[in-house]
């Protein structure tokens, strides 16, 4: 009597595992396996080719004495703060303005969301042309007769990281707007009416009532933006190539040039581990709090 059931249970039990096995295996090897391999390499003296002889923390010591690494870290700080803060501010403002029942909202929404459809490489290249003093904005203003106008951030080693911020904002603000617009649409209209009758101004209504109610959206957006910021690579490569010099390097481009163009695999691995640690420092507490909330219902 129990035999057919047990037989049926066997397929029930093993089919899902069988189907999931390939992707599980691929993830295990190519994600966690390579993270572990990279982790090991960061403790070796690997140059152009991997060298498996244990060398302790020597690569980390080199990394922390390397001026170019600190430029990259400082740039990441500037980029992350301005990019995340700016994209949130612009996105929320656009979403609130679009939420005022404007005409042609669908078209405007698509317009703002379009940059997200481009890859960072295309964005970077397009902005490289626009910001190039000899080709883009500066040349246009000169041609119009404003000869004293200068906008040379792209070739100015003090300011080049800010051009990355500009292009990043252009790409991501519309996405933030779409996330917040969806959240705003979920807010009951009569709450706004009630607050109006209570005498609150529109900024106060949004600041005190609606945005606090959108806390989950704020957190998910922060998560998405911060991991985009930390792993930013293609935007910098296409826009400035890390230059002038290495003035607009980010940790990701630093890691790339160490590991793949300068034959400093060990150093690259160490910088990659530092990036992993940064991402983990943000993601793990977030996942922990989210998962814990779920299990509590």
């Amino acid at each position: 009597m129990s035999t057919p059931n047990a037989h049926y249970g066997f397929a029930e039990r093993w089919l899902p595992r069988l189907v999931l096995a390939p992707s599980f295996l691929l993830t295990l090897v190519f994600l966690y396996g390579f993270i572990a391999w990279n982790g090991y390499l960061s403790f070796t003296n690997s140059r152009l080719l991997p060298n498996y002889e244990w060398a302790g923390l020597v690569q980390y010591a080199t990394l922390f004495e390397n001026e170019r690494w600190w430029v990259a870290v400082r740039n990441l700080g500037i980029f992350a703060v301005l990019f995340i803060g700016g994209a949130m501010a612009i996105g929320i403002t656009l979403a609130i303005l679009l939420d005022q029942k404007v005409r042609g909202e669908g078209a405007i929404r698509t317009l703002y969301l379009y940059p997200m459809a481009l890859s960072f490489v295309v964005t970077g290249t397009a902005w490289k042309w626009m910001l190039n003093p000899g080709l883009g904005l500066e040349k246009l203003m000169h041609d119009w007769g404003f000869t004293s106008f200068t906008f040379d951030w792209l070739v100015n080693s003090e300011m080049s990281i800010y051009t990355v911020v500009i292009a990043g904002l252009w790409q991501s603000s519309g996405f933030v707007m779409a996330l917040f617009l969806a959240g705003l649409r979920g807010v009951d209209d009569s709450i706004i009416k009630a607050a109006q009758i209570d005498g609150a101004t529109l900024p106060r209504i949004y600041w005190k009532i609606i945005l606090p109610a959108l806390r989950p959206v704020v957190f998910s957006t922060l998560m998405i933006l911060s991991h985009i910021a930390i792993k930013s690579f293609d935007l910098v490569m296409a826009l400035t190539g890390g230059g002038p010099g290495f003035s607009s390097d980010l940790p990701a481009t630093y890691m790339y040039s160490m590991a793949f163009t300068r034959g400093q695999t060990g150093l690259g691995a160490a910088s990659a581990m530092m990036m992993l640690a940064t991402v983990a420092a943000i993601v793990v507490p977030y996942l922990y709090s989210e998962l814990r909330k779920d299990s509590h219902g």
Partner: protein, 362 residues
Amino acid sequence: MGALAIKNVTKSFGDTHILKGINIDIEAGEFLILVGPSGCGKSTLMNIIAGLEQATSGEVHIADRVVNNVAPKDRDIAMVFQSYALYPTMNVRQNIAFGMETRGVPKAEQNEIINRVAKMLQMDHLLDRKPSALSGGQRQRVAMGRALARDPKLFLFDEPLSNLDAKLRVEMRVEIKQLHQRLKTTIVYVTHDQIEAMTLGDKIAVMKDGVIQQFGSPQDIYERPANLFVASFIGSPSMNFIPCHLVQQGEQIGVTLQGNGVPQFIALSDRAELKDRVGQKVILGVRPEQWDVEQSEHALQCAVKITEPTGPDTMVYSEVNGVEMIARVHPRAATAAGTSLSLILDVKKAVVFDPETELRIA
């Protein structure tokens, strides 16, 4: 002193006319009900009173002041919404305090008001909870508390009980009525539920298609509905509309009704309005409770098709002059389906409508 006066208010979106000239005038302390089916414009009218929407033309007066160009917050009103509209991230205390903070009421006074309101609505124990931790009835209470804290000239209730279950709705209805009797404030209350309208209102405005069909006291509207729509909308089960001809028998003017027995002449002759309509078609409007079971030679014999016992009364469905007719009779007097019942009409309360204009003529 007039608490609220609405003068010739219209509202249009392009060619769509939502409100077509609304006139309402109520005194301080009155409870006004705006009632009508969905899409009749009652919520739009409410929003115009609150200042959340602008009237296309016409004037709104609150406490003898034209408020057309006054912002909602300066109209001295408070509103309770169907969805309660509590601020989700604030606890009950903060919800009530928000409006007072905005108006710059001193902290000590705020606390005093919150405590007074909480005591009045018996929700002291809820003050530190978030709206998500409250039941529907409790949320409704908090929404009312928030309105009470304002102590306004005019309370606006926008279908406040629609989201509650049937039992709670009856309880809250009584509570709102008690509150009104205690505070003597002026209330405008929007509902689509005719029972709420009848039980709560001092004045009822029955609306349809952006026009007030009738404005008057509940009893007035129930007994002398202005037209067929009002007659059918107010009252449950609905009024019976029996098509008949106005005939003259000797000195008497009346109508002839026929169930499944001999036709009975029913005299309506004390009504002067009917004199020059003899021979015309009319519609006789009879409420279900205006029938009585009685054996007499003047009684109307009706075939019972269905009976619906509700406990205190039994609804008897039958047919008169070819249309369905419902009589509300005492449960012991009701007979089973398939039998015949003798019914006597309370003629004085019956009303007569013109089938063309649908207006009441007598």
